[in-house]
Subunit: 264 residues, 2 copies
DNA sequence: CGCACTTGTATGGTTTGTAATACCGGTTTA
DNA sequence: TAAACCGGTATTACAAACCATACAAGTGCG
């Protein structure tokens, strides 16, 4: 298997560091030879990455002096969706953002999904892939799996305009519980294309299983988010006495105050 | 800029499709020539990708017959730490895992951290970098920033053995609130080395600001987690009536039951 | 100035990924 | 059985990416 372009890895890594505040706007960045030894590549490769950063307007190259950071991408970014209990804000977002339906089929679900939802292997599910945009910028790539019996109660058109929760609850499903798991993955070509990022970028990954009051799975979500446009924020309060102190999530509908405290 | 290995793109794309249910377990996958034309690469390139998939145990290659899907990824994942309210389980983990102190200095904090903690730019903070391992596998890379006045109440040795929360509360600090932000980043050379992953791998990223009862920042955490060994899990319950339904986090100390439902 | 450091440029050679083509052998189906 | 498809293998060729090196030129500082 090919190793994957090294120059691109250097480029992405440096871009990360800049947007994460490792290198601030003043006069910084290690020298080319230093970077080359850190990344264990040749200086030519480092230069390719630096040229790309320069073309992006992130660094300015000064012969004899060094490379200075002259802009930060995510600083003035239209950041971010934020949520505490995750779901409610997603529902609210449904009104402020646009969605695009990429694919829509009925098929049997992958085993691990069928198993998690409590379906027999081979049961048909509706598989829909959507992309959500804010200000014409795609920030999330969602693939949902819904048992066919439930899914037939709404149309392909509904899906493009209305959040799935609303559709499900309108269909008479009583949503009771959800369990979700957050992780990170690399952008595969298809989602990279849909999210308008480079292949190999880091993406926030979310898997969610939604169950009704009878414990049957009604939705399984596989989501990918652009980390520069989307973060999962939450605030916790320390409660309890003495040796029995523990953390409790703060239920904050209006979390505007938190946005500034922990940037991203 | 290099384009990034084609064979790898085909590999990732196919893997995505398999795990997303586009190709199910039966007898499928288009022929090699068909795939080559779809991806607009040569047949040799497709074959490389298929060989890699075969080595992963995802497809079985049958001469004369075709390629059949024989497994789905993420099934046998060696998952994972899991937590709901994040903090308590971290404290529990402190006893089951080992930690290694990589660096320990007093220095001025980066601008954006000083600002978030409400410090004057230039105020010295203790900067400690630790790696946590489970079964000798490093899974998290933590960098903590603590104001020097507070940090002097415990020793460098304490830090390697005891969770920071315990140390802080033992020092008389009244921890009141925390706000955190979850995202994804690429592995930079230094953390990649510490976490034993390739440079450019995807990592789960967590930033956390902890404040005391007077609203002063007492700890700022920058954490990186290996997505294959660590996920953030949580369960939510749907409560409320009719139009006022919303999600509420389930406070689950014992979340063993959730582990199986949403794998990773 | 002169030294130490930086980026800019040029050269040559090696490695790697990719393409195009041809041929062999197994599988399926008419 | 024979034709049509499939994957397995091999060859040749080309281009891109990468590396190592050396040297020129710009900058900052004592």
């Amino acid at each position: 298997m090919p190793e994957g372009a090294k120059a691109q890895r250097v480029y992405l890594s440096l871009r990360e560091d800049i947007s994460n505040g490792v290198y601030t706007l003043g006069q910084n960045l290690p020298g080319e030879v230093k970077l080359a030894s850190v990344f264990e590549v040749s200086r030519v490769t480092v230069r390719r990455a630096l040229h790309a950063l320069c073309a992006d307007g992130l660094v300015e190259r000064r012969a004899g002096s060094g490379n200075v950071v002259c802009n930060s991408p995510s600083l003035n970014a239209p950041v971010a969706m934020n949520f505490n209990t995750l779901m409610p804000q997603v529902a609210e977002m449904g009104r402020n953002t646009t969605a695009k339906l990429l694919s829509f089929t009925y098929n049997k679900a992958p085993d691990y999904i069928a198993q998690a939802m409590g379906l027999a292997t081979g049961d048909p599910v509706q598989i829909a892939t959507r992309v959500r945009l804010t200000d014409d910028q795609p920030f999330s790539h969602l693939t949902t799996y819904v048992p066919q019996a439930i899914a037939t109660s709404y149309s392909e058109n509904d899906l493009a305009n209305t959040p799935l929760f609303t559709l499900l609850e309108r269909s008479g499903v009583t949503i009771a519980q959800a369990s979700q798991s957050v992780s990170a993955t690399l952008a595969s070509p298809s989602v990279a294309d849909a999210l308008d990022v480079q292949v190999g970028s880091a993406l926030l990954s979310l898997q969610r299983l939604v169950c009704d009051d009878k414990g049957r799975g009604v939705e399984y979500l596989v989501a990918r988010y652009r980390p520069d446009l989307f973060t999962i924020d939450m605030t916790l309060a320390r409660v309890g006495e003495e040796s029995n102190r523990y953390w409790e999530p703060t239920i904050a509908r209006d979390t505007a105050a938190n946005k500034k405290s922990v940037s991203a």
